[in-house]
């Protein structure tokens, strides 16, 4: 639909006005340090350029939109081909193919000749975020319960391992399930006070939970070491084999037993493979849960809580289980994080982490696991790739996020895949 030129001009003028307001403080005023101290200089010509560019850009955008709309209108509408039930759609097949390739790539990544310390480390970080986002996806994406304090479970998982190993000498493999269980317990506890809340109120309480957890960790010096954190967390071993050059007392070492030359990278590769296995396990479990009564009740709860009650589903049980299972996944991620870093401190668990994980879930398309994987890759990798932009990389990051949300408001993969299909035999 073409808009008249006056509308376009008005629109562009408004955009230019906004640009003027914003650019006066950001571009127009400029501080330079001189011998006399800091001096403010004005750059009004720059402001004029910025405003002019925005005006012209906005005008061109309007024309481009009209041209696109005209082309779309002239093209005959494609009839949607009826899809035989039981046969996967093209999108479903593509998704599956993508996942297979991605998994193959992920498994072989550490053994590739181009893989160095940096790539494996980055891969590990991406996988940790995938793990966290898969967990949050249970609460937010499936059960539709907002959680702005998800980082609390991450922190609880990390500190569970750190403290259990410090005080009881337990190793990673024992602590992994324990951390998950402890985080799940806290998830269930959190869910109790917020059973009756929804929307904004829910957001505030969960936000508070995240902050309370961090502040308790920060101030409970005798237990958590406060801001100094906990260090000396043992590295995970492989069936009692250590990846250190000099294994701790009573442990064999990987490089001695296998006869492979010692390399610090082996430990990184091993950590990478652990978290990859964890991600696969968690993704499989959640995918399985979706098609079980538990998971269906979560989705039904997201869709309509009142209808759930009218069918005999206990909404309390659904909420508690959604927070507990989501929290458990966060706990696993935390436990792994502690093992990887060898050190935990409250600094790693700020609100920004919660926001980042939530951004991954929303960007991926709420409820979509494949979407979460793609979004995690995107959100963790983008700031890395943008390192050349130095100071501007967060602007580029924000711009990319806005572009995606304009282009796909429902997230990257917003179509929901049904958990079960009815084949039409005898229908």
């Amino acid at each position: 639909m073409a808009t008249p030129i006056e509308t376009k001009l008005k629109d562009s003028a408004a955009a230019a006005g906004l640009a003027l307001v914003l650019s006066i403080p950001f571009i127009g005023l400029h501080t330079i340090s001189t011998d006399q101290g800091l001096v403010v200089e004005s750059r009004w010509s720059w402001v004029a350029w910025a405003v002019g560019l925005v005006f012209i850009g906005r005008l061109l955008l309007g024309f481009a939109r009209d041209a696109l709309a005209a082309r779309a209108a002239s093209r005959p509408k494609k009839q949607a081909k009826p899809v035989a039930a039981g046969e996967p759609t093209l999108a479903a097949r593509l998704t599956r193919a993508f996942m297979a390739v991605a998994l193959l790539f992920a498994v072989t990544l550490p053994f590739m000749p181009y893989s160095d310390r940096y790539i494996i480390d980055l891969g590990t970080t991406v996988l940790i975020y995938i793990l966290l986002a898969l967990g949050l996806n249970v609460t937010v994406g499936l059960a539709g319960l907002l959680d702005l304090g998800f980082v609390a479970f991450y922190a609880i998982g990390a500190y569970s391992f750190a403290l259990l190993s410090k005080f009881f000498g337990l190793d990673f493999w024992v602590c992994l399930p324990l951390s998950g269980l402890i985080a799940a317990l806290f998830g269930a506890l959190l869910s109790l006070p917020i059973l009756r809340l929804r929307g904004d109120y829910l957001a505030i309480v969960t936000l508070g939970f995240g902050e309370i957890t961090r502040i308790v960790i920060l101030n409970w010096q005798s237990l958590t070491g406060g801001p100094n954190g906990v260090s000396g967390i043992p590295r995970p071993g492989l069936f009692g084999l250590s990846f250190d050059r000099r294994p701790p007392e009573g442990m064999g070492s990987f490089h001695e037993l296998t006869g492979i030359d010692f390399s610090g990278e082996h430990r990184l590769m091993f950590l990478y493979l652990i978290v990859l296995a964890l991600v696969c396990l968690v993704a499989w479990v959640i995918n399985r849960l979706r098609a079980l009564p538990v998971g269906r009740a979560w989705e039904a709860l997201r869709e309509d809580e009142i209808a759930c009650r009218s069918l005999g589903i206990n909404p309390t049980a659904s909420k508690v289980s959604a927070y507990a299972i989501g929290g458990m996944m966060g706990g696993f991620a935390g436990c792994f994080f502690a093992a990887r870093q060898g050190f935990v401190s409250p600094e790693s668990f700020g609100f920004i982490e919660s926001a980042l994980i939530l951004a991954i879930v929303v960007l991926g398309g709420m409820g979509s696991q494949v979407g979460v994987v793609i979004a995690a890759l995107f959100i963790v990798m983008l700031p890395e790739l943008g390192r050349e932009f130095a100071d501007y990389r967060m602007i580029v990051f924000g711009l990319a996020m806005i572009t995606i949300m304009v282009w796909r408001p429902g997230g990257l993969l917003s179509t929901r895949v049904p958990t079960v299909k009815l084949d039409q035999k005898g229908a």
Binding site: L289, S310, L311, G312, K421, G426, A427
Partner: protein, 286 residues
């Protein structure tokens, strides 16, 4: 005479100073269609909300004669438990799970039984045989209702994308998938065209005949109510003003007065009365 399936005595619901329902007695029995009618704002939906566990009544006894669990006082149960005892409702403004398929909607309705069979998800997670059988049975039961309500073509569609009339049928199919003793329908014909309304009447009579369950119906479409009901209760201003067979209600002075305000020389046909009541407003939403 044996105890009816549902026996309501002295049901009162007060919201602050407002008495929405005032000492209503009514009953509904298996194999019968009982209708609850009255002008808008009379308290019909409030009665439904009390019956189905959405409101805790201020006072009154809601007694369900459960075939295996004996006599159950519904007002003492937590809300979601009412449906587990076989009293299941639909909503005036349809409440499906819009982003789930029709089949999934029907499977959610079988949640309680399936949850037990999946042993809180553990057996299901491991894919044990008992769970697989239970799941297959659940799908077959859903398939039965999908075919019965002629939903085969849309079984794999998201419920939110369907037309209004089809969504009504899905909601009834979903309620039937819980295996109810008493099906409570809140204005099932609202928004349906005359042909769809007639089909709905046949469907309800079919369900009554075939499954012998009780049906409790709130409805404004007098043609439907008079055509299929075995027994009718009329409420006005939260009080019951009449009950009886369709013939008795049709000629009841108080009912005509409630619908038309002033008694008239000529008796208006009930369908017109319903239309007048409809125009009066949409006061009693859930």
């Amino acid at each position: 005479m044996s105890e009816p399936l549902l026996n309501v005595t002295g049901l009162t619901m007060r919201f602050g100073g407002l008495v929405a329902v005032d000492g209503v007695n009514l009953s509904a029995d298996t194999g019968r269609i009982t209708a609850l009618i009255g002008p808008n704002g009379a308290g019909k939906t409030t009665i439904f909300n009390c019956l189905t566990g959405f409101y805790k009544p201020t006072s009154g006894e809601l007694s369900l004669a459960h075939p295996t669990r004996g006599k159950v006082s519904l007002q003492t149960l937590p809300g979601y438990q009412v449906a587990r005892h076989g009293v299941v409702r639909t909503f005036q403004n349809i409440r499906l799970f819009p982003r789930m398929t029709v089949l999934e909607n029907l499977l959610v309705a079988q949640h309680v039984g399936l949850m037990r069979k999946s042993v809180l998800g553990v057996a299901g997670l491991l894919g044990l045989k008992g769970w697989r059988t239970a799941q297959r049975d659940a799908i077959e039961r859903a398939r039965f209702w999908i075919n019965r309500l002629d939903l085969g073509a849309v079984a794999n569609e998201e419920a939110g994308n369907l037309s209004y009339g089809v969504q009504r049928r899905v909601e009834i199919a979903r309620a039937m998938n819980t295996d109810p003793l008493l099906l409570c329908l809140d204005e099932p014909a609202a928004g349906l065209n005359p042909r769809e309304t007639a089909a709905l009447g046949e469907l309800l009579q079919g369900i009554r005949a075939e499954f012998g369950i009780g049906i409790l119906l709130i409805e404004h479409d007098m043609k439907l109510v008079m055509g299929i009901s075995d027994h009718i209760h009329v409420v006005e201003y939260g009080r019951k003003i009449a009950e009886g067979t369709p013939e008795q209600i049709r000629t009841d002075e108080r009912v005509i007065k409630a619908y038309l305000g002033e008694p008239d020389e000529e008796e208006l046909p009930p369908a017109v009365a319903a239309d007048i009541a409809d125009v009066a407003g949409e006061g009693d939403r859930v």
